[in-house]
């Protein structure tokens, strides 16, 4: 019996004429790991909500067809009744937690099912151990980080050991480390416990290597249902925005088959003699270390003493020491020239957001100073926080809306806009209609964005920098940083530890590196190659030379 079976499911949200799901039929077998892919608004979230019973029991609307979860018909059983056979995890960690302590949260669902006390206690212990949250059991939920909250919410969904877990972009609000940890946790549950996983996710490079199948949705209908490699081949022809960086790299070089991850990409390159043997690479690396003091590989520490009118914005020895607490920023010197595009990277808590607030003048340093050649605009993580009015046209002047491509949406309600449109509106608000600001600062602008939206944002920011606006982006997204920035500043424990060209910083590490750079990491001549397009061109040139030879 299938764990999840959808038969010709068509669904309309209340008051809409266009179906969110259009004749969807899908089977998920016990122990399968299925990834739902698709662009924004393609129907991924609605499919997850239909499978867990929120559609139609919670959202209303018109539902046709049948959905069976663990043998239960979702027409007859609501989300609460289905909770025993499927656990569900949605996007926002903050609204996924309803109790005050982790222990109470894990016990909540089991108690609601009327299980005896001993079964509840055992379920809590097992979920805590399986999800690695045993040390958090007595902690208050409001003290947890986003990643911890999402793990606890997953634990609460899985506490009754349901045979199926449904996840709707669970990593979209998390930093990459927490996101990767969550995906690995799912893989372990899938392999060790045999739990079937249905995961809707934008960042396919994060999860394709673990998937048995990928189901691509387009306009609410299934456009492709195939194993990862076959899906990537399909995507190359029909939906290139779904290709992972590794797949784009090999496609650009004209190599097949498309890889589902970095490991497969390296294997294909080695098979074509385009990557050195790992043993040779290790020897070369060792020789390089002896030879060392290879200046090309060394990353420069910043010592750009800022001042002077040539800088759009500059921090000079900025300290932020909390009263009775920790030091968030330590003597930060950072200067941006007009028109410069800089990425600010570092792990959570490194001080990125605090530094942006200082540069925008929203916080005063406890020591040091900030100087700006003009207005400094700051776009925070959640664009919805800027939206106060009932009409888009009331939020920003017409010229500002035109500048971000929202000129025709003046009469719409801001909350009816898509995620990408909301961000553009927030950008119009902070940029204003007058002369452009001296600098534009953006805090994690790509969270939850698909590749097309990220590409559009890069183009917009390039345009602004072309007009002389210095752009500083705090981001965890190495691919986005590589596409946008010429310079990367790496922050750790409140101080810049690296300030160098993007080609140096993003090609030389594990975490702060693009996928293309990681694929080509063992290839010394490819050092500094960051994007699939650069890498693909390099590989093609190399193949041409070999053929000529």
């Amino acid at each position: 019996m299938s764990t999840l079976r959808l038969e010709h499911v068509t669904y309309h949200y209340p008051g809409t004429g266009i179906p969110a799901l259009d004749d969807v039929s899908l089977n998920v077998e016990p122990g399968e790991f299925v990834v739902l892919a698709g662009l924004s608004a393609s129907g991924k979230s609605t499919l997850v909500r239909a499978a867990c019973g929120l559609v139609p029991h919670f959202h209303g609307g018109t539902f046709a067809g049948r959905a069976h979860v663990g043998g239960l018909d979702t027409r007859e059983h609501g989300p609460g009744g289905l909770a025993a056979v499927c656990g569900t995890l949605l996007q926002d960690p903050e609204t996924q937690i309803v109790m005050g302590t982790v222990r109470a949260e894990l016990a909540f669902g089991l108690e609601n099912r009327g299980l005896p006390a001993s079964a509840v206690a055992r379920g809590v212990e097992e979920a805590a151990l399986a999800l690695g949250v045993a040390d958090l059991l007595e902690r208050s939920t409001h003290e947890l980080s986003g990643g911890e909250l999402q793990r606890v919410a997953l634990g609460a969904a899985l506490a009754g050991r349901p045979p199926l877990v449904l996840l709707d972009e669970p990593t979209s609000q998390l930093d990459p480390v927490a996101g990767d940890e969550l995906i690995w946790l799912l893989r372990r549950l899938n392999e060790d416990q045999g739990t079937a996983v249905v995961l809707a996710e934008h960042r396919l490079e994060r999860c394709l290597a673990h998937a048995d199948r990928v189901v691509v949705l387009r306009d609410g209908a299934i456009a492709c249902d195939a194993p990862p490699r076959e899906m990537l081949e399909w995507a190359a022809e029909h939906e290139p925005a779904l290709l992972t960086p590794s797949a784009r790299l090999l496609a650009r070089a004209g190599l097949r088959p498309p890889p589902s991850g970095v490991k497969e990409a390296r294997a294909t390159l080695r098979a074509h003699g385009l990557l050195p043997d790992p043993a040779q690479a290790a020897l070369a690396a060792a020789a390089g270390a002896e030879d060392d003091r290879a200046p090309r590989r060394r990353l420069s520490l910043p010592r750009r003493r800022p001042a002077g009118p040539e800088h759009a914005v500059a921090a000079r020895g900025v300290w932020q020491e909390l009263d009775g607490g920790q030091t968030v920023l330590r003597a930060v010197d950072l200067a941006l020239a007009p028109g410069e595009r800089v990425a600010l990277m570092g792990r959570n808590g490194a001080g990125k957001s605090t530094l942006l607030r200082h540069l925008a003048g929203l916080q005063q340093p406890t020591r040091g100073s900030v100087q700006a050649a003009g207005r400094v605009a700051l776009l925070l993580q959640n664009p919805g926080d800027y939206l106060l009015r009932e009409r888009v046209g009331d939020e920003a002047p017409p010229a500002a809306l035109e500048r971000v491509g929202l000129g025709g949406l003046g009469d719409r309600h801001p909350r009816d806009l898509s995620g990408g449109e909301r961000q553009r509106l927030a950008l119009a608000i902070v940029l204003g209609a007058g002369s452009p600001p001296a600098a534009l600062l953006l805090d994690e602008p790509t969270r939850g964005m698909d590749r097309a939206a990220k590409g559009a944002l890069v183009s917009r920011l390039r345009e602004l920098s072309g007009a002389g606006v210095a752009v500083l982006v705090a981001t965890h997204d190495a691919e986005f940083a590589a596409a946008l920035a010429g310079r990367v500043v790496l922050l750790a424990d409140g101080r810049p530890i690296v300030d160098a060209p993007a080609a140096e910083v993003l090609a030389g590490g594990w975490h702060f590196a693009t996928e293309t750079a990681r694929v080509l990491a063992e290839d010394a001549p490819a050092a500094g190659v960051l994007t699939p397009e650069q890498g693909g061109d390099l590989l093609r040139a190399r193949m041409t030379i070999e053929v000529d030879a």
Binding site: P79, Q96, G100, E111, L380, D385, L387, R415, V430
Partner: protein, 293 residues
Amino acid sequence: MYRRRVSPLHAARAGVTSLYGLALVALALASTHPLLLGAVAVAVVCAGVLAGVGPDLARTARFAVPLAILLALINGVVVREGLTVLARFGEVPPFGQIDITREALVYGLLVALRVIVVVLAFGLLVATVDPDEVLRGMRRVSFRSALTAVLATRMVPVLTRDAQRMDLALRARSDLDRSSAGTRVAVVRALAAGALDRAVDVAATLELRGYATRRRAAPRARVPWSRHDAGVFAAALVLSLLALWTVIAGAAAVDPYPRMTITTTSATIVLAAAAIAVALLPFASRRGVGDAL
């Protein structure tokens, strides 16, 4: 806000600690005698400090004291009883004849003191009683009330964070005057609209966790009574009896009008001393206070 701390009040079960807090409230409501109210105030503050929630009580007091002062002033202005007239303001529409009497002022201050003590006692209760335990209990009694309470308690921290983020976004906007009434109204409206979205998300989570199944939750495992359960319960019982005795025997009588009479006998002094001693008795032992229930 509740946070598990290492204290006898936190170590005791939620029902018992709730009774303790309510008994202190009852004692404060039993009389407006300044000695008794002072004793209950001392008991509440000392219990709060010993339970590690002193800063929480200080925050509560910052809200309670201005409210209490306002009440005292209103009582002094509005009440026309009392024989000792301190000032006459004549006819003031729409209130009529305004006479400030010593009795009305003093009684207003006593009512204000009572308000402060009651609010502090509730503050102690909120800071030391695990809301999850209370909600579990409520669910067995009233599903709808518990659902509302779950949503409300969860929404408080979520909306607090939303408001902080919106404030930061507002400060990042150069096109708005933050102090204008229009901006404030817009912010409140946006926050309210956001609150509805957030409430829908939390409600969806409750659905997914099976809260709406209305299946009667199985009784929880019987947890043996700890020394702190027994100690806090005994204190709550004695405090309740003291409150009852105060009412029935009139051990701390106050007769504000027409002339203020505050009767203080040896019984009143014993009552005040007993209130402090009994309230602090549970803190005599700290063995096992770090255990979770």
